[in-house]
């Protein structure tokens, strides 16, 4: 079994309402040093051994992320 981690975030310039709200909330409870909060998704994926990253990329493009509004980053989990 192989493991991948996928991080999905909004593209630059796409407004992230939950992130903006968390940013304001942190500032309002005394964390004035906060200048930006972005909230995205973290996905753990388990696939058959030998599954190439290109397949995972395909899964992201088709379903896990929406290329219109989101970017994603795939990381291989070593020693899985």
């Amino acid at each position: 079994m192989a493991r991948f981690q996928i991080f999905v975030t909004y593209k630059k310039g796409i407004f992230d309402p939950p992130g903006a709200t968390a940013e304001r909330a942190l500032q309002s409870i005394g964390y004035g040093e906060v200048s930006s909060v972005k909230i995205g998704k973290y996905i753990q994926l388990e696939v058959a051994d030998g599954t190439p990253e290109s397949r995972v990329r395909e899964m992201c493009d088709k379903l896990l992320a929406n290329p219109v509004i989101e970017d994603y980053r795939i990381e291989t989990v070593e020693g899985a």
Partner: protein
């Protein structure tokens, strides 16, 4: 004239377009999301709700329902398709319409009547004069329409913006009139051909006079008349 209203797991507004269409003297029946035969239907409605629990993104899973491949073919043949609320989100996820729907700017689920201005567009579903203001309810958490600058230019240039959120008198507020933060106040768009129409507001909820308003009627009568003319 027979409307087909697709039921996805988690749809919850599929009764309303059926009721609206029948009230206006048309036939209307449900289409199961697992069905792959749309023969016998003249127009397809993708209703509102929370298909597949809105998991991953609203409409992201419904797009892969067996029925959707047939809906794509139906639209490619020129068949009229309307996506209301979650149906609009599904049309965007399926790339049948450009752009995407983000979380409402204020993070609140919005459920109230809004004023919409009809724009001059290629939309086959609506024949109201440009500038007409209709009052139709919205009921959504992710109605904040977004697309890139090139797409927006194309939408405006091709007459693909069908409806904009506006003030009660039909004007646009300087800070924007969209309660959800939608780009350029966009409430509904169509494809270039005008047969595929997606909108966040719910016209099917304001057809029966018992609901108080009947501004939604025009959204069903125009397409019926057009289809009757084509034969």
């Amino acid at each position: 004239m027979r409307f087909g209203v697709v039921s996805f797991p988690g749809s919850n507004c599929e009764q309303d377009p059926i009721h609206a269409a029948r009230l206006l003297g048309h036939e209307a029946d449900f289409v199961w999301h697992g069905d792959t035969d749309l023969s016998g239907f003249d127009a397809i409605v993708l209703p509102g709700g929370f298909s597949y629990g809105d998991y991953i993104r609203c409409g992201a899973v419904a797009r892969f329902s067996p029925v959707m491949a047939e809906v794509v073919r139906f639209a490619e043949r020129g068949g009229p398709v309307i996506g209301i609320c979650n149906g609009f989100q599904i049309l965007c996820e399926a790339h049948m319409l450009p752009g995407a729907l983000l979380r409402n700017r204020g993070l609140k689920f919005l459920c109230r009547s809004v004023a919409l201005r009809v724009e001059e567009s290629a939309c086959q579903w609506l024949e109201l004069a440009p500038g007409t203001v209709v009052n139709v309810p919205i009921s959504h958490n992710e109605g904040n329409y977004i697309c890139d600058a090139d797409t927006l230019e194309r939408l405006n240039g091709n007459g693909q913006v069908v409806l904009r959120y506006c003030e009660a008198d039909g004007t646009s507020a300087a800070e924007g009139s969209a309660p959800n933060g939608a780009l350029d106040d966009i409430a509904g768009i169509c494809n270039e051909r005008g047969n595929v129409f997606g909108l966040m507001p719910h016209p099917e909820r304001v057809v029966d006079p018992v609901c108080g308003l009947t501004d939604g009627t025009a959204f069903f009568t125009a397409i019926a008349r057009r289809l009757a003319e084509v034969g």
